[in-house]
Symmetry: C2
Subunit: 617 residues, 2 copies
């Protein structure tokens, strides 16, 4: 067992595929962390916009949250139906391309890829951001910490989906458990106090109302709150990862995730109103997050507070993991339709689509480095991709039900499509100048690339595919060209191999150093005479002049000329190559063989074939 | 004519070799700048050590300079004799290896290589240093200026030795002319004033004597002054660069260079005493070089002063050029004896040993970067190499004359050998801690490398050389293995080529994705049936299981197994390879063909041959 095996795990045979599948217990950490951890920043994002309204703003959070929960319910039912309709994984990409056509599918794919990469980056950055605001002296290491967490996630995920699920079980359930406990205790106290409980640690006082509620503000608050919904589609995309009964397990997992998320959102909204908790200015000095205020108010600042806050940090950081579970599946699905490089279809040693994981890690690292690992700069790019994918998926399902004549289903998805579509527009307009324009450029760029890739593969398939049996005509021997530097055992081996292949052989010597006469003599004595004596056809010796001492250009030109003069046969160029024992011996020998191979492949054509005769020292 | 041709010059045919040869006029800039420009720092280095003696020190400079000139005369006669004895270029390397044995030759080669690289670095750094002390605001760009001059020198030298000689004509003769004029005018005035002329601009006052003259100080002053002798051996090393009559032209060039250098050294020493010019502290603020004081004293600070100083700067910077002329010739001579990679023997498009130039430029750039382009840090490494080479060369000539029985010549060279040997010891001891230890480590390291290279080449020659005619026994057809991914035009082309080569063909399919049955069916239908019908032997289809979905390892293992099972025949592995039209299409296709080639070359052995069938899209 090598160190590599120890870190990444032993290779898994394809037959163990079933054993690598998961149930709802592992499914929640793998596919649910993204959605669940959104509860930590969705309500916060909404309440932050309500700061100018002061205490009056808090009153608004409950109806807005109810609207979001309503939208979530629509999306939930829609995705349950998607899982039933697409048991092989029905992400937005599949649904959109099957129901709305290829272009819509590519749009969804581009949106989702960007969304997953941003989710990984934002999750890690948010976790590290929270950690840094708790321990300010880590501040200078923000980017380093982000990249370290990315590395750990990569290593864990490289071991396969099952091991990843196990590794994240404890942090996930700690996060869910503590948050649920806070909500239950808070609710019980609020009801016992007749709706006006006394906080154990009082939240910061809210400022006086400074402005009025407008419809535009309401729309923006709703749009910001909707970031709580990102990650909901993960389960439907990863159906195949679940163990038998696959669809049932997937739906059960989705239900648990959505119900938990709804409880979180509703609980946070109601408790905020009950305890009078509002957002504080995130750029101000007295900043404290909503959840921190809430836990302090309900449970006080004891050890429980710190455990809860720590579990929130962990959940945020690990929410990036959803991207690791879904991004490679998405790229694989796209690659199967020839719109991404085919390597994304290859399953690595642990039955994962390793190239997809590499692409995700590379892009995420790039994003973290470019944006310095700062969440605030990344957030505006986010959510657009998610809502674009939601909208396309819902619209696709509308077409799906329409074809099947299922009116009721159609209406549910139709409402969802309109709602998520409006949200998308609001997000795009509200955040365009803050960075959403980057996404708005990237999506079409990605789509154009995918179409170019598809065109390339189509052309290759067309050129390469064969629908007839092997042709057995014209199996004439090739004309073999053997470049001859000097007469040595290496040359002899090449010439002998050439004689095995064909009777038409040309030995070509480039006369770069005035050694022409010598070569001719040796050739006559050591090759021509013994061959003539034994009645074997004698190869032709060709001497190419080279006044400027170039060796390769005259040789390549000659090969091309021969190819041109013999249109009926293939030309095999036989290149003897010295293989050194140690890498440091490489510069001691000229690399002409390598260069000649490259030149012939580059300038050559289909009838020129390169034969490599290695000579090991 | 491409841009490349315009910068570097058109390729020169070997037949134009004679036309590229030079006479004394171009020979002085090419081979003499190093020696001549030493006059700018040799006396300065000696006088700097005499600062503590105050005015009394200046008195000592004349006898010491006379001693140096005496040594120079010995070396001069010695090298004249060397040119006669070695008309094909008799650098220290040739003389030492032919007369003192291979080990002494390698010692000389290592010393000279280091010396030439240091000469290039010191010359450039000294020129830039002088420029920077004239224009202090260029100070931060020291390293950049050094590298820029190195680049310009490289480009000029890449055009060939003749063009380099022409390019340096004007700066060289300007330097020689102005310095000669200063010495003549100064001497005339001094004689006219009865030995005590009045300086036009008075030099800085000399400090009072602070210490006594010791023998050790005298030795150190002599050793420092000897840096004026570096570069003297350049001509004897480059004899072949001169036009017919070769030896006569070379000797004439050497004579002119040495006579000029002697006049410079003697003139500077005498005028310094006459005008009372001593060195100033180079680390102090009022620093002014000896030559600057001398020119001011004799000619005043008019335009002539600035022209002279500028020509000194140019000569210093261009003195690096001697390394460009000699280093490649040296590495070529060493490579001819198999002690350096053979690429150093190849003459490039302009009849130069381009690899030698590249090695020189690379090492010089590295040295300049490591030492930040500061002359003072480089100087201690210098001179050791030069004097080691002098000593070995003179000792070699002693053996040469001894064998010929030429007693008088033997005595001249013997005196030279002893004198340069003592100087070498003094330099080594005096400068050991200042950096000479680096040279003292590098020389043995280089010698060990060269011996290892020699051993390697000897072994290869022994393995590869052949002293018998072509063997024509056992020309059995090879066993051809064709990896088969799926049935396509590319596979068909490969199979057809295999059928041209041999009747023993195995098509090998690695079953990584459960496509085994499909392949078998297609094989039966499209290959086996038509071949059987036409009576051609049917290739064998081999299916390799691969539970962990690896493709290449089972294939390579299988090839090695087949090779092991068929000890009597060669195995040809036929690798069809897709050639894309544009580089960006590369990631769209898997690079297994490339990898397989590498793996087979790396793990394979002499009986495994790789045949590359390109398929151009």
């Amino acid at each position: 067992m090598t160190l590599f095996d120890l870190v990444i795990g032993k290779p898994l045979p394809t037959t163990e595929e079933r054993a690598e599948h998961i149930g709802p217990i592992s499914g929640i950490p793998v596919f649910g962390l993204d959605a669940l951890s959104s509860a930590a920043y969705g309500p916060e994002a909404a309440l932050t916009l309500l700061i100018p309204l002061g205490f009056a703003g808090i009153e608004q959070i409950v109806p807005i949250t109810l609207a979001i929960i309503g939208l979530l319910a629509i999306v939930f039912f829609s995705y349950r139906q998607t899982i039933d309709a697409y048991p092989n994984g029905g992400g937005s990409y599949t649904v959109a391309s099957e129901n709305l056509g290829e272009q819509a599918g590519l749009l969804a794919a581009a949106a989702l890829m960007i969304d997953y990469i941003l989710n990984a980056a934002v999750g890690i950055a948010a976790g590290v951001g929270a950690l840094v605001s708790a321990i300010p002296r880590l501040q200078p290491h923000t980017l380093g910490l982000c990249l370290a967490i990315l590395l750990i996630l990569t290593l864990i995920n490289m071991r396969g989906i099952k091991d990843a699920g196990s590794a994240f079980l404890i942090p996930t359930y700690l996060f869910v458990g503590t948050l649920l406990l806070v909500i239950i205790v808070g609710a019980v106290r609020a009801i016992a106090a007749g709706g006006h409980p006394t906080p154990i640690v009082a939240p910061p006082r809210l400022p006086a109302s400074a402005s009025m509620l407008t419809l535009w503000l309401l729309a923006k608050v709703f749009a910001s709150g909707c970031t709580a919904m990102t990650g909901v589609e993960a389960v439907s995309n990863g159906v195949t990862a679940f163990r038998e009964p696959t669809q049932k397990n997937a739906k059960r997992t989705l239900t648990i995730i959505i119900v938990l998320l709804m409880i979180f959102l509703a609980g946070i909204a109601l408790l905020c109103r009950a305890y009078g908790i509002g957002a504080t200015d995130p750029t101000g000095s007295g900043y404290q997050s909503i959840l921190s205020q809430l836990v302090s108010a309900v449970m006080g600042r004891g050890w429980f507070y710190y455990v809860t806050i720590a579990s929130i940090l962990a959940a945020l950081a690990l929410s990036a993991n959803t991207s690791f579970a879904d991004f490679p599946r998405l790229t694989r699905a796209v690659a199967q339709r020839d719109c991404l490089p085919h390597v994304f279809k290859i399953r690595g040693r642990r039955l994962l689509y390793s190239y997809g994981i590499s692409a995700l890690v590379g892009s995420t690292a790039l994003l973290l480095i470019v944006f310095g690992g700062v969440t605030d700069r990344l957030i505006p790019l986010y959510a657009i991709g998610a809502f674009l994918a939601f909208t396309l998926s819902q619209a696709g399902m509308v077409m799906h039900w329409k074809r099947k004549g299922a009116r009721r289903h159609m209406i549910i998805n139709g409402v969802g499509a309109v709602a998520t579509g409006i949200t998308l527009l609001v997000v795009l307009v509200a955040k365009f100048t803050e960075g959403a324009w980057i996404t708005a450029i990237l999506v079409p760029a990605l789509i154009l690339s995918m179409r170019a890739i598809k065109r390339h593969y189509d052309r290759v398939t067309c050129e390469v595919n064969i629908d007839r049996p092997l042709s057995i005509e014209n199996l004439a021997e090739p004309l073999v060209i053997v470049p001859l530097d000097r007469w040595s055992r290496i040359t002899e081996k090449g010439l002998r191999f050439a004689m095995k292949l064909s009777d038409h052989i040309q030995a070509v010597h480039v006369d770069a150093e005035d050694s022409c006469e010598e070569i001719k003599q040796i050739w006559q004595r050591d090759v021509a005479v013994p061959l003539t004596r034994s009645g074997t056809p004698v190869p032709e010796l060709v001497i190419l002049p080279s006044p400027c001492r170039y060796v390769l250009p005259p040789l390549v030109d000659y090969v091309l000329k021969v190819e041109h003069d013999h249109p009926e046969c293939q030309i095999a160029v036989l290149i003897p190559e010295l293989m050194v024992k140690h890498w440091w011996q490489t510069p001691l020998h000229n690399q002409r063989a390598q260069l000649l191979k490259l030149l012939l492949l580059w300038r050559g054509n289909r009838r020129i074939i390169v034969i490599n005769i290695p000579w090991y020292l």
